[in-house]
Symmetry: C2
């Protein structure tokens, strides 16, 4: 009846293919697909950004972001400065090296975007994006209410 299980499976397959191919393409440069997403979100930001804001942008959480930033900082790609206004916050920004690498990775990943593009008809890209974002929002919004309403059992498997 509902073909949503197919949607979930297709979504999974496409994402895994994307992720794997991106990882593979970036491997010679010592960077991962997820790290590229982080760097790119910093580029888009232009100026500095806090860690929590960063977490929100790339759908992650503070401790994960922190772990990722530490790795990127070791490579000299990002800097975490003290926040000018809020002393609790950290101002994250790309270094010159980070900017350069991000640009290079953008070029390196061009064939990947080409692959995606050539797999879709004229107007399908937009439809696809719209659907995916709607799905994302739907999946995120009901989550909290489900937890709050205790629709999810706490322990064990009931018989």
């Amino acid at each position: 009846m509902t073909h949503s299980p197919l949607v979930a499976l297709a979504l999974r397959k496409a994402y895994l293919a994307l992720h794997r191919r991106t990882d593979r393409a970036f491997e010679p440069f010592g960077i991962t697909a997820d790290q590229f997403v982080l760097l790119t979100s910093l580029v888009r930001e232009g100026d500095a950004i806090t860690q929590n804001e960063l977490a929100r942008r790339i759908s992650s959480d503070p401790s994960t972001i922190r772990a990722m930033l530490v790795l990127l900082e070791k490579q000299g790609l990002v800097r975490r400065e003290s926040h000018p206004i809020d002393a609790r916050s950290r101002s994250v920004r790309l270094t010159a090296k980070g900017i350069k690498l991000q640009r290079r990775m953008w070029d390196v990943s061009e064939p990947i975007r080409q692959s995606i593009h050539s797999a879709l008809e004229h107007d399908e890209s937009e439809t696809l994006v719209r659907c995916l974002l709607r799905v994302e929002r739907a999946l995120e919004s009901q989550q909290l209410s489900a937890v709050k309403q205790n629709l999810i059992p706490k322990h064990g498997v009931s018989p």
Copy 2:
């Protein structure tokens, strides 16, 4: 011009939302979203299946599959028997407990499929699935040729 980067980002966001919500829903039962995919692919198979075949089905690789199966075996959800024909192979199948848990998880994840379904119009599900599978194929097919043709550099970042 090309909005493929948006496609990639939207794909990532939707998948992460799906994965996170599924993990969350299954957590009280001690199972992960990925493990559910594995179990479900065994259910669909009905009969036994080899580990390599399993890897192919859920877009994984042999050593990952092995690690996952070891965890599932510890929980008594799957069994790996010797293959009747090929002694190198292992015949993987669900145990009674595994079948039962998979069914339970299927029910538990019904609201998730509902969320996806309700986010999409009548015919959008099918379009979405078709597009995603085409994207997947495109991303997988060009990968080998890119490596073979040495389009990907081997070392370091060029200046």
